[in-house]
Symmetry: C2
Subunit: 137 residues, 2 copies
């Protein structure tokens, strides 16, 4: 069975054209994608609402994860770690290139532990680094 179907089935999602197309887009794209990117890069004309709902579903199922940014955009990228529904455990650094503006998952760079002040309990950590990527030097 092909990878795409596999992911959808494994997560008990009925396979529809929208989900196939959007998941395919993530599979073949290297960087992270914003909602707007998904809408643009998909040839088929899905409704905006469908895109919102699909992304949300994928996040809930642990198929994609989102990446915080300081501008007002949420970015999404494929989970390559074994994320389960409702519980992500991606633990890698994200890199945003100032030049090409791509956002890349650095799968092999783990977020270091930090010692928090007394009484603070950590659940999740996001480390986003910006600068110049390898391609743009």
């Amino acid at each position: 069975m092909d990878q795409l179907m596999d992911i959808l089935k494994r997560n008990q999602l009925s396979v529809t054209e929208g989900r196939r197309k959007i998941l395919e887009l993530f599979l073949k794209s290297d960087g992270a994608l914003a909602h707007a990117d998904v809408e643009k890069k998909i040839d088929a004309g899905f409704d905006r609402v469908t895109v919102y709902r699909t992304l949300q579903t994928f996040v809930e199922k642990g198929i994609i994860h989102n990446i915080p940014t300081t501008d007002n955009s949420i970015l999404y990228a494929l989970c390559k770690d074994n994320c389960e529904a409702g519980h992500h455990h991606d633990n890698h650094v994200h890199f945003i290139c100032d030049v090409c503006d791509k956002t890349i998952c650095l799968e092999h760079v783990a977020i270091p532990e930090v010692k928090l002040p007394k009484g603070y309990q950590q659940r999740q950590a996001d480390l986003v680094i910006s600068g110049v990527c390898d391609d743009c030097r």
Copy 2:
């Protein structure tokens, strides 16, 4: 001279009621504020546009810095480090409490260095940790 004026003068900003009120709000508030918070918490009825422009100005001058989040909101907090116009160098961890929903600058917790893959050049780093804060345990 009082602290408020001092900050505005130092950054060559003409002192207006809007700027005074908004800066005052940041000075006396412990956590970070979203645009919406600023609008709500200010008694005087400034135009939304003025708030947008003021926040933007403050960020450019290095008076406040913004904090990335995974939901679609930009948070702002006072720079306590010596940030210059156009060049922030806050280097502290931000903590978002899942319970009280406050976002706190952990001024004394530095973001650790990470070793990036060959070719990547770092300019800035944002580390946002969420969990339960000291007050909410």
